[in-house]
């Protein structure tokens, strides 16, 4: 009989005592759980891809496809240049963070349609508060950002309470919230054409201006990269070796090494691209501040969702609310906090968006309705399920990059916004189709369920 905590035995098919499950289960298990060698890992992974459960592979392919397509169709093949790529990343960060915000709601099996308005409102509040009186309060930048995010948290808590305690459909609550906050946003801006700006010259306001626009010195970029890669590698290596030592199933050592090499390689490419001089006249080189900022949001959210009790409960509520309830989980509290996190993350995106538009926020430069659709598109394209319980925060980064890449490529081609909508809409529908089909494939995997 195969012993459950013996990794070697579990991989040997003859020991499978339950014949009905043998064929079904093989393909659904993450390959790293069974594989003892790199070859087995690759075979297991290929089997899963064929089975329709491919993790981040589709979105990585989508990124490559977007890059190649626009490189071919843009005049003079000008898409894949360091200056463009850095610009795309700066533009995409708002979409990435918005997609992350949406993922908090999607994981719970809910949807937050208000984040377009919430995000702009959060940005506008922060921008207003750093203005000198009488328009603003001349607050220090950190206090202004904190106050803006607190407002977003309150909005999220109100919407979350309606959804979680009264069980109103989140679709309707947040659609109402979207319109209501859009109206408030226009009022705060002083009219449909109103705008609010932070200046690069004011020392306090320039911090907010530089969140997206500011650059890290090339030398410091390299040092920072080395620190990040070394820390991450040490953590990954330590975790895997601890698991191996305590007799738990762990990834093959070679795979751990390959992951670290890939991580370092990707980091080197990004930093090297950013450190190329992007200006025709003077010198513009360096990693935009936005990259470490997004990294911090990504790591913090990932730890929250993957390593804490709250995160586990988010997945449980999204996967099977009844099971979560019987396990003693306070469903209303988890759902409400999910909406709070969604709104706060959206507020961060709004501030970054203003910084990306050279310190100016208005409903003309960023349309809240478009933002929320891009957020949902980014999350789903990245691989997060619309049906709850499946997805990771990192999906928002990849999905946001696809959305931003398409937006920039269409602009580079000189196509009007309506074509951008058409293409993004098609990509969104295809992503949802993949989501639905992979769910159906997953259900087929365990056929004897009711």
């Amino acid at each position: 009989m195969a012993s459950i905590n013996d990794p070697l035995a579990t991989a040997i098919p003859e020991l499978e005592a339950d014949p009905t499950s043998a064929a079904d289960t093989t393909l659904d298990i993450p390959p790293e759980l069974l594989a003892q060698s790199l070859g087995e890992y690759v075979r297991g992974w290929l089997a899963r891809v064929r089975h329709g459960d491919s993790g981040v592979l589709p979105v990585l392919l989508a990124i490559v496809a977007v890059a190649i397509t626009f490189e071919l169709v843009t005049p003079n093949n000008s898409f894949l240049q360091p200056s463009n790529l850095v610009y795309i990343f700066q533009e995409s960060t708002a979409y990435m963070v918005l997609a992350m915000a949406e993922i908090f709601a999607l994981l719970l099996g809910e949807i937050d349609l208000s984040i377009g308005s919430v995000s702009l409102l959060g940005g506008v509040i922060a921008f207003k508060l750093v203005q000198p009186p009488p328009a603003g309060a001349n607050l220090p930048w950190w206090l202004a950002i904190g106050a803006a995010l607190l407002c977003c948290a309150v909005i999220g808590a109100l919407q979350g309470t309606l959804v979680a305690r009264l069980r109103m459909p989140s679709f309707i609550v947040t659609l109402g919230g979207f319109l209501l906050l859009f109206g408030i946003l226009v009022l705060v801006l002083g009219g449909a054409d109103g705008s609010v700006s932070v200046s690069q010259s004011d020392p306090n306001q320039s911090v907010i201006f530089n969140l997206d626009q500011g650059l890290v010195d090339p030398t410091i970029s390299w040092i920072g990269l080395a620190v990040v890669v070394l820390t991450a590698s040490a953590l990954i290596w330590r975790r895997d070796s601890l698991r191996r030592r305590s007799g738990l199933v762990a990834q093959p050592t070679s795979l751990t090494a390959i992951k670290i090499v890939l991580l370092a390689g990707a980091g080197v490419i990004v930093v090297a691209l950013c450190n190329v001089n992007r200006s025709n006249t003077g010198t513009i080189a360096g990693v935009p501040w936005i990259i470490p900022i997004v990294l911090v949001v990504l790591v913090a959210s990932t730890i929250l969702l993957q390593r804490t009790r709250f995160g586990r409960y988010v997945y449980a509520v999204g996967g099977n609310p009844e099971a979560a309830r019987r396990a003693g989980i306070n469903l209303p509290r988890v759902r409400t906090w999910g909406f709070v996190l969604s709104a706060v993350t959206a507020g961060i995106a709004g501030i970054l968006l203003g910084s990306f538009f050279f310190g100016q926020l208005s409903t003309n430069t960023a349309d809240p309705g478009q933002l929320v659709l891009y957020a949902v598109a980014g999350a789903v394209i990245g691989g997060t399920s619309l049906f709850g319980g499946r997805g990771r925060i990192v999906h928002g980064v990849f999905g946001g990059l696809v959305v931003g890449g398409i937006a920039y490529g269409m602009a580079l081609l000189g196509l009007a916004a309506q074509y951008e909508y058409i293409v993004t809409g098609c990509v969104l529908v295809v992503a949802v189709l993949v989501d639905v089909l992979s769910r159906r494939g997953g259900a087929k995997g365990s056929g004897d369920r009711d």
Partner: protein
């Protein structure tokens, strides 16, 4: 006869005008499997929920180790070591086996989830119950077969030093091989000294695994006793007619003498 671990005495429960249970007596001795049979609407589920803390009986006493107890919530039941595995199992498909087994009772280290410790404990529980057909305890529950899911649900219920385990239709919707797997698991729970109650329509399964049989008919306990006192035909008669056509003396109904 030694006193049963869990004793129900004169349990009444009604919902509005509907009397669901009439003065039900039931013994669940430790180290034995009690099969609870009854037709639809006989009150099996209501009785189970009274023990599990979902419903509170209107009248009657519940004795745990001879002491009267009040079970007002699932939490009260869990505190006594009474765990229930419902028919729908309540597993989150998107979580893996370890995550499901520890759902709501996660272990923390430095305020973060202690995955390695939970994984070891889950593996120990599963191997002590000899649930060895799962390929990896880190696979999502969605990829498990019906029998494996049932096994995980049972293991989840009994890994917290449970004394009493109530199983609602554990073999419904399972194939032959998987049913055997679950019945073996039930025998192992008994061998571990738990008081097990199996609610089932399937008399084949009940007779295969039960040490004692109790039959409910229209909210009343019409027969209760060692499995040797029953045969299938008589059990069916008790289930369908309450045994009115026969003399009930062949199968003594346990009355309140132990209480």
């Amino acid at each position: 006869m030694t006193e049963a671990l869990l004793q129900l005495r004169g349990i009444d429960k009604h919902f509005g005008p509907v009397q669901a249970l009439h003065g039900v007596n039931l013994d669940l001795p430790a180290g034995q499997v009690t099969g609870l049979c009854g037709d639809n609407g006989a009150g099996k589920s209501v009785l189970t929920r009274c023990i599990a803390g979902v419903h509170e009986p209107d009248h009657g006493r519940i004795l745990f180790e001879g002491q009267p107890v009040h079970i007002r919530s699932a939490r009260d039941a869990a505190a006594l070591g009474i765990e229930t595995v419902y028919q729908d199992l309540a597993l989150a498909d998107n979580l893996d086996i370890v995550q499901n087994m520890f759902l709501g009772r996660e272990r923390l280290r430095h305020r973060l989830l202690d995955e390695d410790s939970m994984e070891r404990a889950a593996a120990e529980t599963l191997s002590s119950l000899r649930v060895t057909t799962v390929r990896s305890i880190r696979q999502p529950v969605a990829s498990l077969s019906g029998g494996q899911r049932q096994s995980v649900a049972v293991a989840k219920a009994v890994m917290w030093n449970s004394r009493v385990c109530l199983l609602d239709e554990p073999t419904a919707a399972l194939g032959v091989v998987q049913t055997q797997m679950v019945l073996d698991l039930i025998r192992r729970l008994r061998d571990h000294g738990l008081a097990v109650m199996v609610i089932s329509h399937n008399l084949n399964d009940v007779f295969e695994v039960a040490d004692r049989i109790a039959v409910l008919h229209l909210g009343s306990m019409v027969a209760e006793g060692p499995v040797a006192d029953f045969d299938r035909q008589r059990t069916v008669e008790y289930m369908t007619t309450g045994g009115k056509e026969r003399t009930r003396t062949r199968v003594p109904i346990v009355s309140g003498e132990a209480g």
